[in-house]
């Protein structure tokens, strides 16, 4: 079986509010399902790797074939838990080590 290539995305949350990790990942799932449906969301292989609510920083993982789809869904987020928010991609990488190096955490 062919090994799935992964992509890690470093994200920043733009909002005056602070959110929990569940609220954040739920907003991402909701955005992906809204734009691409449950079938599309199931292909994305999304998972939350790191989350820091105070610093408004997160890292998620996806499959490289669905990277653009996830990026589009992230850009379409305007609310998290019904509070105004936006999610911006800071960096994308194939390994966590390279990603942390890029965002210099």
């Amino acid at each position: 079986m062919k090994r799935l290539k992964r992509r890690y995305l470093a994200l920043t949350i733009d909002s005056h509010e602070t959110f929990g990790s569940t609220e954040f990942i739920d907003a991402i799932w909701a955005a992906v399902s809204k734009l691409y449906g449950e079938y599309g969301a199931s292909r994305a292989g999304l998972s939350l790797i790191d989350y820091d609510g105070e610093r408004k920083f997160a890292i998620i993982r996806t499959i490289h074939t669905t990277l653009e789809m996830v990026r589009t869904a992230l850009a379409s987020i305007t609310k998290i838990s019904n509070k105004p928010a936006a999610v911006h991609v800071l960096a994308v990488s194939g390994t966590l080590k390279a990603l942390y190096h890029k965002v210099k955490v």
């Binding site: 733009d14 909002s15 734009l35 653009e68 990026r71 589009t72 992230l74 850009a75 379409s76 305007t78 105004p84 928010a85 936006a86 911006h88 991609v89």
Partner: protein, 244 residues
């Protein structure tokens, strides 16, 4: 060569300088090199100067833009005659077919756009695209409605945009993707805007051009035309004075 990204439709309230400053700083942080804030047809030149200064402080180029919303082709022609030499970008929101056709064939119009919520008044069809391809008009798509609309309305908008983007591509009409953001939280990075353009089937390269090359080309062309050295397309004054 590094790309210059542009957001030609930052709809912040230009009377609220604090908000303008925040939006422009954010645009600079997002990697934009050019931003345009639309003015109403009646404006004060001091306001343009103020915005220019704010953009300079943020390290970003300011582009002056006016949005025309004419009801008749005659009104459009009057507006173009009055404002063409004063603004770097002239955008026309076409609410009727007559206005759309006039805007598409007039070389003084830079951007044509259509009502985002009324799908029966989106007149960007093959005839419109053919006229636009012979003039200099580009087709502008604002991303804001994709954030604000939901459900059936968003589906209908995406369907219209997909059809219009395909028509524009067929007739080689440049597409310009702008944020249309009236709020800072609706602003997105250029690559995120390009990713959103995939929703209406723009491929990666075309989407990136829609936020960089296409808007930058309009600004470059118009700045050249508005400069005192411009005589006609391809002809400009290179030296003045006794030594000529």
């Amino acid at each position: 060569m590094k790309r210059t990204y542009a957001d030609l439709h930052l709809c912040v309230n230009f009377n609220n300088l604090e908000q303008v400053s925040r939006a422009v700083t954010r645009a600079s942080r997002f990697g934009y090199g050019l931003v345009a804030i639309p003015f109403p047809p009646r404006f004060a030149e001091t306001q343009v100067k103020q915005l220019q200064r704010i953009c300079e402080d943020a390290g970003i180029e300011f582009v002056s833009r006016v949005d025309l919303r004419p009801q008749t082709p005659e009104e459009l022609l009057n507006g173009l005659r009055r404002l063409r030499r004063k603004f770097e970008i002239i955008a026309v929101l076409c609410e009727s077919k007559n206005v759309a056709r006039q805007a598409a064939k007039d070389r003084r119009v830079d951007l044509v756009s259509f009502p985002q919520f009324d799908f029966r008044r989106r007149f960007f069809d093959a005839a419109e695209a053919e006229l636009a391809s012979c003039s200099l008009a580009s087709f502008e798509i604002d991303m804001k409605p994709l954030f604000t609309l939901e459900g059936a309305a968003r589906i209908r908008l995406l369907s219209s945009l997909r059809r219009e983007a395909a028509t524009a591509k067929e007739f080689r009409v440049p597409i310009v993707v702008s944020s249309g953001a009236s709020d800072e939280l609706l602003m997105r990075k250029p690559m995120d805007l390009a990713a959103l353009a995939s929703l209406f089937d723009l491929n990666g390269e075309s989407a990136i051009e829609a936020v960089s090359v296409n808007p930058a080309a309009i600004v470059k062309r118009n700045r050249e035309k508005l400069s005192s050295r411009f005589v006609a397309p391809g002809i400009r004054v290179i030296r003045r004075g006794k030594d000529c």
